[in-house]
């Protein structure tokens, strides 16, 4: 089992969600976050003073999937969240030791 953490542009969330649903990946946790990467920030101007806003709003998706789906899910996220400009975000993939479904108590692949 793998955990996919994707940091994406907030305005790409709906596209990514729909695309993942199409390939059969339904479950996800979505968190509004702030952060920065290479984009570093944008400039805002108030009453003639410029300020660099260096923590930008992003959306963080957390998805747990079975190992064999990894490539498909990651590929779908990359394809739909991509604009080609700096600030598209990143995807982190890591192994998951176990998953337990609280309702039934079942664990492992069945619980994903």
């Amino acid at each position: 089992m793998k955990e996919i953490v994707a940091i994406i542009r907030p305005n790409k969330l709906d596209d990514v969600k729909d695309a993942l649903e199409e390939i059969g990946c339904h479950g996800m946790t979505v968190i509004e976050v702030k952060g920065r990467g290479r984009q570093l920030g944008i400039t805002e101007s108030y009453r003639g003073s410029d300020y660099r806003i260096d923590m930008l709003p992003k959306t963080r998706l957390e998805i747990i999937i079975n190992d064999e789906d990894t490539e498909k899910v990651v590929g779908t996220i990359v394809k739909t969240a991509q604009t080609g400009d700096i600030g598209d975000g990143k995807i982190f993939i890591s192994p998951v030791e176990n998953v337990v479904r609280i309702r039934t108590g079942e664990s492992g692949d069945k619980a994903v």
Partner: protein
């Protein structure tokens, strides 16, 4: 004017009074609240609200009486003959506006006193102790606003000199702007002096309510429902619109982008500048006054403030002090006797008027600055003006009030 009650005038003045109230509660509260950090939004709004309440009570107990009582001590203060509001009858007509009841006149003037002190809060937000602010409101209204209102509007020595101030360019705006400057000099800089509005939408609503309420402020200052009120109404709107346009143009030239904060700042600067002039100048003059006032305030905010290094958080001095001063001068230039027989400016053959205006500006500015410094010093030595560093960093809402503006 015959001292006979006029129901049209009375109706208009009742409405005007409520309009001016709307400028402070919630106009100023929202305008300022949106511009601060989200951890200070409640404290910022609260400062305006409590200022309004305290001033309302002071005004009926003794403020109105000293400001608008029969002139005494050679123009220095009014003779307070109706202290604690005793002896002002329901049907008694206002001595200075003899077609409306005195109660209506008291209420109308009360809203002016209240907004003047509320305006000052914008400069000192994000670092002043609430307890100290409450004490400051009491002292400042008593020792600064009341005498100045008497000098200019209550028949005091500046009125006798012929100083023109239709709705408060000196009494309200120059006065609050200079006092704001004095108080921030005592308070010192905030740790974080960035102006990053946490909710600019609040400020747009606040500024729009100011614009709306200002028709009561300026057209109401005609103290009657007639041609002069109409002329002041249109002059007010015209100058405001012109000032918004010119601020946006300056923004565009300086930064390449028009900004909404610039637009509402320009509108407020225009409202301020036309305030002393509204019932004296032509509509054409209002265009010029409005267009130029943004230049004056923009210069103060983008150049003077950084050059001199004072931390006027929300630019009360820059907008109210500077545009108030410009408006008071412009009144001396553009006052047209065919608009209002009480005022003739330089351009209509009365060069002396500009001297009178400068004297009024100097007297109000210096008195307000000096007395505010004294009152602020006294508070600093007793209650203390400033919250401690930890409270400033964490925000005043949770520390001064144990409340927070946002649950999410």
């Amino acid at each position: 004017m015959d001292p006979v009650l006029n129901s049209g005038d009375t109706a208009w003045m009742l409405i005007s009074t409520a309009l001016v109230l709307l400028m402070t509660v919630p106009g100023v509260a929202l305008f300022y609240g949106g511009l601060t950090k989200k951890t200070n939004v409640l404290n910022t709004m609260f400062m305006s609200l409590i200022a309004f309440s305290i001033t309302s009570v002071i005004w009926i107990l003794y403020g109105y009486q000293f400001a608008f009582g029969t002139d005494t001590l050679m123009g220095l203060i009014g003779n307070p003959s109706n202290l604690l509001f005793s002896g002002i009858g329901v049907d008694q007509l206002a001595p200075l506006a003899p077609t409306i009841p005195e109660t209506v006149y008291v209420a109308f003037q009360m809203t002016f006193a209240a907004i003047t002190i509320a305006l000052i809060s914008g400069a000192v937000v994000e670092r002043m102790k609430f307890s100290s602010w409450v004490a400051f409101v009491v002292l400042w209204v008593t020792f600064v606003y009341v005498p100045i209102a008497h000098w200019v509007w209550g028949g005091g020595f500046l009125a006798q000199l012929g100083a023109l101030d239709f709705a408060g360019g000196t009494v309200v705006h120059l006065n609050s702007g200079v006092a704001a400057l004095a108080l921030v000099l005592l308070l010192g800089k905030r740790k974080d002096t960035k102006l990053l509005p946490h909710n600019l939408g609040y400020s747009v609503i606040g500024a729009s309510l100011l614009w709306f309420g200002w028709f009561g402020f300026n057209a109401g200052s005609a103290l009657s429902a007639g041609g002069l009120a109409g002329s002041a109404f249109l002059a007010t709107n015209t100058a405001t619109a012109a000032a918004m346009i010119s601020w946006v143009i300056i923004d565009y030239i300086k930064t390449g982008k028009p900004t909404l904060l610039g637009a509402i700042s320009g509108a407020v600067a225009g409202l301020v500048a036309i305030t002393p002039a509204a019932g004296f100048v032509t509509i054409q003059a209002a265009v010029i006054i409005g267009l130029l006032t943004s230049v004056v305030s923009y210069f103060a905010i983008s150049f003077l403030k950084s050059k001199l290094g004072y931390d006027d958080a929300l630019d009360v001095f820059g907008i109210h002090g500077m545009s108030g001063m410009w408006g008071a001068l412009a009144t001396g230039l553009f006052a047209a006797p065919f608009i209002n027989s009480l005022g003739t400016g330089v351009f209509y053959g009365n060069p002396g008027q500009i001297v009178t205006q400068i004297i009024a500006i100097a007297v109000v500015g210096i008195y307000s600055f000096v007395v505010t410094i004294i009152l602020g010093k006294i508070l600093d030595m007793t209650i203390g003006l400033r919250v401690d560093d930890k409270e400033e960093i964490e925000g005043l809402d949770t520390n001064q009030h144990e409340e927070s503006g946002y649950r999410i």
